[in-house]
């Protein structure tokens, strides 16, 4: 009990740093959660953020703009190159279209010319001897730009086709808009539920937060107990080293539980009902297993790191590297196979395996055999990491003692 009390006396001295970390991490968590996006349930054509600058102010340009407006999101901004660069760089705008003065006039005169050529039985003549009528700003080989450009080109193609057929400008315009209303039917097949929930976002980022908060709060306390002077003094006391170590381990576990309860408690506030389901409970258990691994990591570091700065360096590097390589900060679909294979040596990979598997279900009863297998592997491997780190810590501390 004495060691236990002393542990929390030392912990009390580290409370300032603990509160700073916890506060900042909670702010980070909230910001991470606020980044979540919704997933569409039915097929919707993608809307590209487009800015259009109309210098023609004609019927045709207005029709083109309203066609773009119906299919995409028009973003208004100043026609200034630096503003365009700013907005495009941050993807507030993905495509910029500039309709030059005389656009309608050119199209109509080319159309009339093509129609008169046709009247003279010359079918080789088409509208576009000089096809470059419009100007754009876009990213190289951008899929969004290819999409919207195909629509704009189609609009002009349809309009010019009606011109070739001899319709006047107004009728060609009306018929173009009528034709554009025709669409192919598109369905979404019912696939696995991949809706992004608040609890999923929260429990994805908590992996990064946990490692930093548990290691940076608990390891410095163990380091204090491992200091030579304090160790010698404790060895002189009537408390046996085994009992002392057991007390430290128990106190560390207790402190880890406090940190875990704090973060889990907040998830109940933020995600509400999602956390009271069976899936929510599995998420909490996964976090608990991960927290045990973090505790072992803290123990391992405390055996050979004596400087708090170095401790901060190792923890932050380990936390950030795990987050980037295991799919916490970056979606796994963007990580290469080599990166994903490499990340298997990190516990966060197995934590994320479970978390990603859980996003497919709403109830525990829906679990398939392969899901149960993924979950079991995830839990067992994380625990094995914990055991391995603890064992490595014990070996280092024994070696130090014998030295």
């Amino acid at each position: 009990m004495q060691v236990f009390k002393t542990y929390f006396k030392v912990a009390k001295k580290h409370l300032g740093a603990f509160f700073i970390y916890s506060f900042i991490f909670l702010v980070l968590l909230n910001l991470f959660v606020s980044q979540k996006t919704d997933n569409p349930e039915n097929f919707k054509t993608s809307k590209i953020k487009v800015s259009v600058f109309d210098h023609d102010h004609s019927n045709l340009s207005s029709s083109l703009i309203s066609f773009i407006d119906e299919n995409h999101e028009i973003v208004k901004m100043d026609e200034d190159i630096d503003t365009i660069r700013d907005k495009m760089y941050i993807r507030d705008v993905e495509y910029v279209l500039i309709i030059p003065e005389g656009f309608e006039k050119n199209i109509i005169s080319s159309g009339n010319a093509a129609a008169s050529e046709l009247a003279q039985h010359n079918t080789d003549k088409s509208l576009n001897e000089n096809p470059y009528q419009l100007e754009s700003f876009k990213f190289p080989n951008s899929v969004s730009a290819i999409f919207i450009q195909s629509q704009i080109n189609k609009f002009i193609n349809i309009y010019s086709s009606y011109m070739i057929l001899g319709y006047d400008a107004d009728t060609a315009n009306t018929k173009t808009l009528e034709t554009l209303t025709l669409e192919a039917k598109a369905n979404i097949t019912a696939s696995q539920s991949e809706e992004i929930s608040v609890s999923h976002v929260y429990y994805t980022y908590i992996c990064y937060i946990l490692i930093s908060s548990i290691v940076l709060c608990i390891a410095p306390i163990i380091i204090v107990f491992n200091k030579d002077e304090i160790k010698r003094r404790t060895n002189l006391s009537c408390v046996s080293p085994f009992k002392k170590n057991l007390c430290i381990a128990f106190a560390s576990f207790f402190f880890m539980l406090i940190i875990l309860f704090l973060f889990v408690g907040i998830s109940f506030i933020m995600a509400g009902n999602e956390m009271t389901t069976g899936i929510g409970m599995v998420r909490i258990f996964n976090t608990f297993v991960n927290a045990v691994m973090c505790l072992s990591f803290a123990f391992l570091l405390a055996t050979f790191v004596t400087n708090e700065n170095l401790l901060g360096f190792i923890t932050n590097f380990f936390g950030l590297a795990s987050s980037f390589l295991c799919g916490i900060f970056v979606d796994r679909q963007f990580l290469g196979k080599t990166v994903l294979n490499f990340s298997k040596i990190l516990p966060a990979h197995w934590y994320m395996n479970i978390e990603l598997e859980l996003t497919k279900y709403e109830k525990l009863s829906e679990f398939t055999n392969s899901t149960v297998k993924t979950l079991t592997y995830g839990f067992v491997i994380q625990l094995l990491f914990a055991v391995a780190m603890f064992a490595a810590g014990m070996v280092i501390s024994k070696t130090k003692k014998s030295a």
Partner: protein, 384 residues
């Protein structure tokens, strides 16, 4: 005497493993992590790739016209589609395995589409392109229905016009810089390295104050002018983060081949000024009396990471969201100002925005230096 102080302080820093880890090694390792995670991301997210599609014909309808349309889209010249003609079951299986973007079912001479739910932006736009192509097919049939079947010349002219694949849009050059928005992560990394200079600044304050370290006590007894001691220590403390930043920039630009955009010398200048800010922050925190060393370290690590987070180190684009809600935070956050300066070097043709950022950083340096100097200049300690 200045050079003597400078030289010995520099030696101390180079022998400090903690400074070496945090200021030199940590950014290099994190930069490598970024490279591993991000170098493929923009390509996957934004660039166009040929759309794999399965085509299922459900009746004995005449496929000639539709097949010609698909063949044109799949030709080497266009390379928009990669089509596989198959059965309905096989197509469903390919779709479930995400080997194709969608299924085109051709029934009653009309194509319809089936997609899988997706949360990927690129896949979603590819699906939209596929739908757009099928819309175009149906719309082309509608235009042709306006032509009298006997009027073969008009028919041929319209088919020629629709099939010419004309591009009416000419591209204007956006910038000479790199428009990959993943670059923000690297800018934030450079900003973080600058702020990690605070460790150097902190130890500088420790070595100057008699109530904080034995070296501080010794220095207080020295006959050297206090200002010479402060300047020597300060410049030496700045030298190491500046060197670390130069190594980081060279590593990113020339070894990992990340195009940081802009003039490398101006990027280094920005990083150098940013490093001085970092040192000043450390000096300021280190000089605050009555706070324990461990807490000061905690404040420095947490604040460096938090400020870097706000500039986009962990969630790209967060600074633009902050700019919309509380723009003053971006102006006060040195990490964001550093990333803004690097961004302006990359994107703009002129250097107006860049010099504004440098001016903001210079003012911050002056304020922090003045406050720190007021705390560490001639101090008298009570006789005990």
């Amino acid at each position: 005497m200045f050079l003597h102080v400078y030289k010995y302080r520099l030696k101390t820093i180079f022998r400090s493993r903690v400074d070496l880890f945090w200021i030199l090694l940590f950014p290099l390792l994190l930069g490598t992590c970024f490279y591993t995670a991000f170098h493929n991301i923009t390509k996957s997210l934004e660039e166009f790739n040929t759309i794999p599609v399965a085509i299922v014909c459900e009746d004995d309808a005449d496929l000639t016209f539709f097949k010609a349309y698909i063949d044109a889209l799949s030709s080497e010249e266009n390379n928009i589609l990669s089509a596989t003609y198959t059965t309905s079951d096989e197509a469903q299986s390919l779709l479930s395995d995400k080997k194709i973007t969608g299924i085109i079912t051709f029934k009653d001479s009309i194509p319809s589409l089936t997609f899988l739910n997706t949360d990927s932006t690129n896949t979603s736009v590819s699906q939209s392109i596929l739908k757009e192509l099928m819309d175009s097919y149906i719309q082309s049939l509608d235009i042709l229905s306006n032509v009298e079947p006997e009027d073969t010349e008009s028919l041929m002219a319209v088919i020629a016009n629709l099939g010419q694949n004309a591009d009416y849009i000419i591209e204007r050059k956006l910038t000479d810089g790199n428009t990959d928005y993943m670059l923000d992560y690297y800018f934030s990394l450079i900003a973080m390295t600058c702020l990690f200079g605070s460790y150097s600044g902190h130890s500088c304050a420790n070595f100057l104050k008699a109530n904080l370290s034995a070296q501080g006590m010794r220095k207080c007894l020295s006959s050297t002018k206090r200002l010479t001691l402060i300047l020597g220590d300060f410049f030496a403390s700045c030298t190491f983060p500046v060197i670390s930043n130069i190594i980081l920039i060279i590593y990113l630009n020339y070894i990992l081949k990340i195009n940081l955009g802009g003039n490398v010398l101006l990027i280094i200048l920005t990083a150098a000024i940013g490093s001085i800010i970092g040192v000043c922050i450390g000096l300021f925190i280190g000089a605050i009396p009555g706070i324990k060393d461990s807490l000061k370290n905690g404040i420095m690590t947490a604040s460096s990471l938090f400020l870097s987070f706000l500039s986009g180190l962990m969630v790209g684009g967060i600074k633009y969201k902050i700019e919309k809600v509380v723009p003053i935070v971006n102006k006060l956050n040195p990490a964001t100002v550093i990333t803004d300066a690097l961004y302006s070097l990359n994107i703009y043709d002129t250097h107006d925005q860049f010099f504004t950022c440098i001016a903001i950083l210079a003012v911050t340096i002056v304020i922090l230096c003045t406050l720190s100097y007021l705390m560490i200049r001639r101090e008298s300690y009570a006789s005990i």
